[in-house]
Structure formats: structure tokens, C-alpha cells
């Protein structure tokens, strides 16, 4: 079941199963979000399914995730989200009170994000054939004129910025699911990010736009997955300065005990930005002024060396290779 883990196995499924099967009807550029023109407008289109367990966790529920997740996928192309569709797959016997809580959470998240829940669908499957509630959302957003944010624009020299603490959502959910005590201090970081993106695009005056080359929300597979995807897609190397990556103590402790690497743990309200070197300071300052980017940090740079590889430089000068996550945890030490 590593195929849904957002790692090497998912990439393999897309590359070796879906794309060949779709043939000419398939997308050419693999991204979380498709961009297409309608008349003079450019629209972003994205879909995502939510299967998180448990349904409710510290700081949120599957409802917030379903709204914010798709909003963020749109926002990562620079789009302003317009409307979402919602589809529920319910397992027979799911308490209606749970469903009501989820629906309420979705309504509030949509209101907070300023998007409409425009259309929807509900299906029920037999007991034992689902896991309570699965939610799918799809969304459409409008990309501002002249804006071009995509992995292929990433260049050596780009600054790599992250909007705050990493690993929080994953550890919060894991703690709750497994009843781990150390997680009680952590809450999911789920949040919509399009407003932060807008602030980053206009760090000074409204008409001077910063040159942001690419954006990613490091959800499944964490920061490691996002950075590896960009490195491969752009044919560049990523050099991280390990100690500049913001990892809260509670996340570090939990990961230590569980044998996880915080770079591989999911986030739901964070983004990583690849910014032209000249604009990096301004964009970073703008992020730190925004409520969703207060903990923003410069974590590394894009390099021409070691294309396709993400490397973390340790305090002692070693250069650890950060792989695409596998989706399951296997020791390598013999």
C-alpha cells in the first residue's frame, strides 16, 4: 500500500500506469494542478481525494483538509480559487453527527478561504467497504494576467523559502491516531494559502510583482517529496542547509522516537517557494508579515550541480542525500 504515500511508488504508478493508459488524452506536464485558457482568462483546475484517519484530529478534521487542500493546490499555480465541488463517499452506518461536523467544518473553511462550494455528490457504500467518510474536492481558480508559476521555471541560484514549521500536521494526526502522548501539544497546521501567495507576489507595492518561479505545498511525503519533484522536473539540484529548516522540538522528539525524518512528514498549511535571488529578501519579509507565514525561513538554494538530487548540508560539512520517500519504512543498516 505504499502507492498512496506520495513517494516513489505513487510517481511510478503515474509514470508507468496512468500516463501510458491515458495516451493522447493525458496531461503532458505532471503537476498537482492543470492550467488552461478560456478566452483571455487562464484557469487552474485541480482535484484531490481525502482519506485521512482519524476523521477528527487536533486542529481540524477531514473537512478542513478537503477544502484547504484543493485551495492550496490551486494557489500553488498562483491562482485565486473561485469555487469547489465536493463529493462524499460514505460508509453505511457512519453517524450523521460526524457527517454534520465535517460539513460544518467545510462550510467554515470555504468561507474563510473565500471560495464557493458550488456543486457536489454523495454516494453510500456498504459497511466494511469504506472507512467512515471519504471526501473528494475539485476546484477552479483564476490565474492573474502574466503570472507564470511552475516547476520548469526554477533556475540555479533561486532561493528556497518555506513558510513555517515543518512536520506539524503529520505528527499531530499520527499522535492522535496512535494515541501518542507527546502529540498533545501539536495541532494540525491546516490553512488556506492563496492569500499568503498573493502577499508574496506583491511584497512591496501592488504593481511591482516579485519573481516567484515555483510553489509547492508539501503535503504527503513532506518537504522531501516536494523538493525532489521540483529538482527532477526542473533538472536542477537542491542544496538545503539542514539547521535552517524550522522543525519544532515536539516534532523532532516525536520523529526521533518513531524513527521518522521530519522532512518526510506531511504538512497541510505550509508552502515552499522557489524565488529569483534578487527578490528573495522581499518575499521572505512579506511572508513573515502574513499570519500564515510568520515562521518563514530561507532553507536553501537551487544549484546546477547534482541535477535531480536534493542534498542537506549538515553543520559539520557532510552532504546527506534526501531521497524521494519510499512510502514505507525499511531499514537499510545491515
Amino acid at each position: 500500500m505504499g502507492h498512496g504515500g506520495g513517494g516513489a511508488l505513487s510517481a511510478e504508478l503515474v509514470e508507468h500506469l496512468f500516463l501510458p493508459a491515458f495516451g493522447a488524452a493525458g496531461a503532458t506536464e505532471l503537476d498537482d494542478c492543470a492550467v488552461f485558457a478560456v478566452g483571455s482568462a487562464r484557469l487552474a483546475f485541480s482535484t484531490d481525494s481525502y482519506v485521512v484517519r482519524p476523521l477528527f484530529f487536533p486542529g481540524g478534521s477531514i473537512g478542513e483538509l478537503a477544502v484547504n487542500g484543493t485551495v492550496n493546490d490551486l494557489a500553488m499555480s498562483g491562482a485565486r480559487p473561485l469555487c469547489l465541488s465536493t463529493a462524499f463517499i460514505l460508509e453505511e452506518g457512519t453517524p450523521l453527527t460526524d457527517l454534520a461536523r465535517i460539513a460544518t467544518a467545510m462550510g467554515e473553511a470555504a468561507r474563510a478561504a473565500g471560495v464557493r462550494l458550488a456543486t457536489g455528490d454523495t454516494k453510500v457504500v456498504d459497511a466494511g467497504h469504506g472507512h467512515g467518510v471519504f471526501v473528494n474536492t475539485a476546484g477552479i481558480g483564476l490565474i492573474p494576467d502574466g503570472l507564470d508559476i511552475r516547476p520548469a521555471r526554477v533556475r540555479p541560484g533561486d532561493a528556497i523559502l518555506v513558510s513555517g514549521d515543518v512536520g506539524v500536521h503529520g505528527v499531530a494526526v499520527l499522535s492522535c491516531r496512535e494515541g501518542l502522548e507527546f502529540g498533545t501539544t501539536l495541532q494540525s497546521d491546516t490553512a488556506p494559502l492563496h492569500d499568503l501567495v498573493a502577499a508574496m507576489l506583491h511584497p512591496g507595492s501592488p504593481d511591482a510583482r516579485a519573481d516567484i518561479h515555483a510553489l509547492r505545498d508539501p503535503t504527503r511525503g513532506g518537504l522531501a517529496a516536494s523538493l525532489n519533484e521540483i529538482a527532477r522536473a526542473a533538472g536542477v539540484g537542491v542544496d538545503l542547509v539542514e539547521r535552517s529548516i524550522p522543525v519544532p522540538a515536539a516534532v523532532a522528539d516525536a520523529c526521533g522516537i518513531l524513527g521518522l525524518d521530519p522532512l518526510y512528514v506531511a504538512n497541510e498549511g505550509k508552502l515552499v517557494a522557489f524565488v529569483a535571488p534578487g527578490d528573495a529578501d522581499r518575499v521572505l519579509a512579506a511572508m513573515r508579515r502574513h499570519p500564515n507565514g510568520r515562521g518563514a525561513a530561507l532553507i536553501g538554494t537551487v544549484v546546477a550541480e547534482h541535477p535531480g538530487l536534493v542534498v542537506a548540508r549538515t553543520a559539520f560539512g557532510a552532504t546527506r542525500v534526501v531521497d524521494l520517500p519510499l512510502g514505507e519504512q525499511l531499514p537499510r543498516i545491515c
Partner: protein
Amino acid sequence: MYGVVQGVGFRPFVHATATGLGLAGSVRNDSAGVQTEVEGPWEAVEEFGRLLRENAPPLAQIERVTVDALPPRGERDFTIAPSGPAAAGRTQAPADTATCAECLRELADPADRRYRHPFITCTHCGPRFTIITDLPYDRPVTTMAGFPMCADCEREYTDPTDRRFHAQPIACPACGPRLEFLAPDGRRASGDEEALAGAARLLADGGVLAVKGIGGYHLACLATDEAAVATLRRRKRRGDKPFAVMAADLATARGIVELDDAETRLLTSPARPIVLARRRADPRPRPADAVAPGNPDLGLMLPYTPVHHLLFGPRPRGAGDAGLPGIAVLVMTSGNLAGEPIAADDADAARRLAHLADGWLRHDRPIHIPCDDSVVRVVDGIEVMVRRSRGYAPLPVRLPFAVAPTLAVGADLKNSCCLGSGRSAWLSGHVGDMDDLATLAAFDGAVTHLEHLTGTRPLRLAADAHPGYRSRAWATERSRARSARTDGRPAPDSPARPVRFVQHHHAHIAAAMVERGLDGTTPVIGFAFDGTGYGTDGTVWGGEVLIADYLGFRRFAHLGHVPLAGGDASVRRPYRMALTHLAAAGIAWEPDLPPVAAAPPNEREVLARQLRGGLGVVPTSSVGRLFDAVSALLGVRQTVDFDAQAAIELEARSRGATADGRPYRFELREPAAAGGPLIADPGPVVRAVVADWRGGVDGATAGARFHEALVALVVTLAQRARRDLGLETVALAGGVFLNALLLASARRALLGAGFDVVVSRSVPPDDGGLALGQLVVAAAGDRL
């Protein structure tokens, strides 16, 4: 003549032999080997053929000789002809070799023109593998290309009667490389004697010296200086991992460790490996405690380059530091951080070692390929390779059958790779752990170098089946193209090369089979005991009995599975494995047990939940992890700084102790389904360990009982396989068999029970030798 016949003084030897018999003709190098034509009376020609094989120079390894009859030409002289063009076939590059006795005599002779010359070498000694960039081996394709010979050297080089005839790295004070010393304050001392004196002074003052050697930089300090060793350990982020030392000479070495004949022979052999030997109770001189904390063995080597000899030796009269006494024993550890490859390139070393070294002793002869020191240990009189590198690479291992050109990429930790073609398998030196960008680059370099030195382009690749191995990813990537472009994408219209994935423990056993030249027509009873290997069922194996030939295997038996929680976290913290084994054996986690006390309470809670709920848990049958658990249960080691530390310390504790006739016992469970594997349940062993701990039995006895339990398990399972399948040959493989106590006792017990026993010796039994096994398994399907 084919084999290691170039760069070893072969042509002068042929010349001397032919002229001695009054034969005319010629001799020359080509890329296939050495070719000679002789003309003269039939008896003399026959005698010539006999002497060629019998009296060959010390470093020569003649693999094959082919003979043709030619019509006489009426020649009168015997000449050495220019090297021929690159032809089909291949010769073999020699390994780097310690300074020979003859050169040492000259080095110490004030009348010799190479008196105290730090780069003295001849056809019998000096750097080879690390300075050769291509074949045929000739000075222009070595890193000596930038040092034009002076007239005197040229004369020796071209005189067939001289010991230095065609010694490619030949040099002298007039034309050779130069030493340079960089002091901590940035001052530079050039001039060989000034540089040596500066370096010796720095060491005497307790400093850490970066010394450029044959295959890379060492970090050196006085091994007897507690503060200096502690500083080096701290800077290198070394934890408790032992440092190797270099003793000035054999007599000094004998004062520090106990050496039997086999160990002495190894220590003084031309390969000059580090030999793991038992420390003397009262060593003189006494190495600092920080050299190898808590370890009854010490890795020791002798000087192998002129620079080492000069650094140790007394300063010459009249030089700046005439009064400085000689050095007795130095810590000599690879110049790198833990896990990184050894630094060999000067600019790279200057950057990477800047914060590790106080001063630098270096020279201007480039190192083409890095090569760490080799490590060997003697177990029951047999040599077991612990790390196969300098002095051995790239000498080929002879294969039991011919293979198509194949590259095996090895394991991810302790990586070395292996290139095979025909009946030869060439292994790279020790590359390191593939976690680091620098190691990945070193791996690329090692592969390219092997391909150049052997003229072999692999047609297929072999890799471990572990989905997370970087070596596997590398092989998969390269399979798409014969020559990958810099961006890693396949070059246009380059044919694909298949990759074969080889199960980890199958490869371990195959590597041992190669040792004996077994051709695989009869399977072996293969015991592969190690820490971790990816199993065909997606779980983590490591206590396997495989009925194996080169083509395949059947899992005959294995250690009972326990859940491994948190991947590498449980490997680094043996107390977790102990808690896991306790839970599996049905023993409560009471605080009187050392691993229970060692585990932080919140981690215990989380672990309990992981073991119940399966979060981040993979089943494992690893014997290495059982060693960790027992080591923790007996209070020996709760967390580790380096591979197998807990097991190594348990072995040390158990040596010399006896089981008092009460070894622990694994319980053997019959297969769940017909044809399925037997299960060796560790539960009874774990319960007995706990009972002994609680009963106040000392750790040494308990450790001995555990070792004996494993030996009994091996013998029982081997007997069972003999009974069921009629097999007689047992292969012992995997890193656990680097445990000298276990290997010696298991081997003796098996021999006593009438089995034939094969053990890897020319490659390490652990992951350092994995590539050889991968190679033969991948190539066995369509042997030539």
C-alpha cells in the same frame, strides 16, 4: 602472458632470463599483457618458458600463457620493444604496494642518491592502482605524467638491467614530487626535510596532522597522547568507533598487540593491511584509552610509504630538528567525517578537512582514485577480509565460470562495486556509505576507473532488491543508457542494459561460494546472518538458511520474526530491539532489566503501541538485531555509534568465557506448510538470558551461552539439511560472521560434524563483499 604482468618488473625479468639463456628476440607490453618472442636452440626456449613461470617477479600474477611457433628470423639481440597499441583483451593493473626492502635500504643510505627521498619507488613497490588512469600501464597514463624524468632517472628507466627499468612512478630528489608542510598558523615549509620536521614537531606537540598518502589523506596524531586522540575523536564526530594505529616497525607493533605467525605475515605483506589483533594486557607503548574505547582488539598497520617511514624515523643529523626523537605509534585514520569517503583530491581535502586538521603534510603527486586502508583479521588461522581496499584492489577474484561483462553495484552501506568479465571479477576499493553526495560521486568515479583499468563496458547490471537502496536507483537509472548524460536522462539511441535484482542474502552466500571455486552444480547449505536485507516477501531478513546455488535459492529455515519498529531507529538503539524481543517472548518490561531502564518512559509507551498496532513496523528475522537485543539485555550496550557496536562488545565480553555446559537453546518449529521454512524461535533464548541476568550470572558466561546457542543452531540446521537433502557443503556468510568467536566455533563444530565449510576470505563476508555475490548470481543465468 596475461594477468598482473605490467608495472611489476616483468619485462626486465624477461630480458634477463632470455639473455641469460643466450636467446634473441623481444618483449613488449600491450593492453592484453606482455608479449615476448624468442629465437634460439629448442632446449633454451623450453627452459625459458619454464623460468618465466617459476621465477616471475614478486608482484606478478600470471593468469594465463599462450604459446605460438614462429619461423626463425635470424635475430641476434634481445630488445625491449615499445608498448603496443591497445588491443583486444586486457591486462591487469597492479595494486598499490608497500615500499620494498631494497628501496628502504636506499632510503637509509646516505650515499644513495635517493637517501631520504619521500617518493622512492621501484618496479617492486609503490603506488599503482591509485595513480593509473588508463591502460596499457605507462607513465603518461599515471598521475606522474606531470613529472618529466631527469637524466639519471631516465637512464635507470631505460636500462633493462636496472631495478627501475620501466618503473612508471620512478622519481628522485631532482625530478620527483615534493613534500610541503602547512603549519597551523598558515606558514608553509617547502623542501622535503623542512616539511617532515615541521610535521613531526606538530605531532610531538599533540597536534592533528593531515597526511597525504597513497589512496587519500589520513588524520594522524600521537596515539599515546590522550588529549590529542580525544581532540581528533571529537572533531571527526567519531563516537566510540575505534581508530587504527600505525606502529613504527614490527618490534613496536609486538609491544602493543599479540601477533601470531599468520598475523605477522599479513602485517608485513606487500599489501600492508590494517590487522585486527588482540591487545597486550600491558602494552608498551600504551595507546591512549580513546584510541579504541572498550575494545580488546586494536587495528594496527605498519608504514607502507616512504613518507610514513621518514615521518616515524629519527630526524637526520644537521636538519632543523635533529634532537626530535622518532615516533613510536600514530593514530592513522581516514581523512573524512563518519560515513564520507576518504578525501583524496587536494582541493577537496583542503575544504573537507579544514576543521579536522591542525597542519598538513602533503605533496604534489595527484591521487587519481581514492583508496582506503584494508582491514583483515585472522580467525583460527584463516584470514578474513574485513575491508578490501588498498593493496588488494583491483586484483581480480577468479570466478568459477566465465561471465558476460557485468557490473554489480553492491550494497548501500560499506559499498564497493564489482565488475566482471570472463573468469575475472574486479572489485573497487571501499567506497563508503551511499548516504552522502560525496560517496555517490566517489561511486561514479570507482565505476569509471574500473571500466578503464579493465577495458570492460558492462552489458548488464546487478543490484540489491531493496527498493530504498540508492545503489539500486543508480543501477536502474544507468540501465536506461550505456552512457548517461549529465542530466541523468538517457542519451539518444543508446541501447538499454538490463538490471537484475539479487536478493541480499542470496548474494552473501554466492560470494562465499565463489571463494572455493564452487561451480554451483550442487547447492550449498547457506547460512546468511546479518543485520538487514530485503527479503522476497517484503520483510527484513537477516537470519537465513538458504539452500542455494548461483541460479536461485529456497528459504530452508530462518530466525523467528519479531517486529522491527521505526526502521533504522531500532538499529541505532539496541534497547528497542531488546524491548521488542522481550515482548515477543512474553516477558514484562520490568525496570530491573537494563534495556527497560535505558528506554525513556515515553518512548517505551510509544514502542508498546507500535508493537501492538503496527505503526512503522516491519517484521524481521535478523540475527544481527538479536545480537543487539542480547547485548542490551546483558547491560553491555544500549545505543550504538557505529555498525554492530553492540554485537562487537558482546563478543568481546564473551571471549575466553565458557557456557558452563549450559548453552541457551533456540526452539525449532516445523514448517507451517509443507516445503515452507523451519523457524528458529528466539523466545527460549531471550527468556534464558533474562533468567541468567536475574540470577546474577556474569555477562561473559551469558554471552558465551548465547554464542554457543547460535553454533548449536547452525549445526542442527545443517544436519537437518544434510538428512533431508543430502547436502554436505555449508557456506557461512553475512556480517555476523565477522564475529571471530562465532565464526571460529561454528566452523570448528561444522567440520567436527563432517561438513565441508566455505567462508568468504578474499572479500569481506559482510556487505563490503556483496557485489561479488550479486555479480555471479546475475551472470549465472547465461554463463558463457
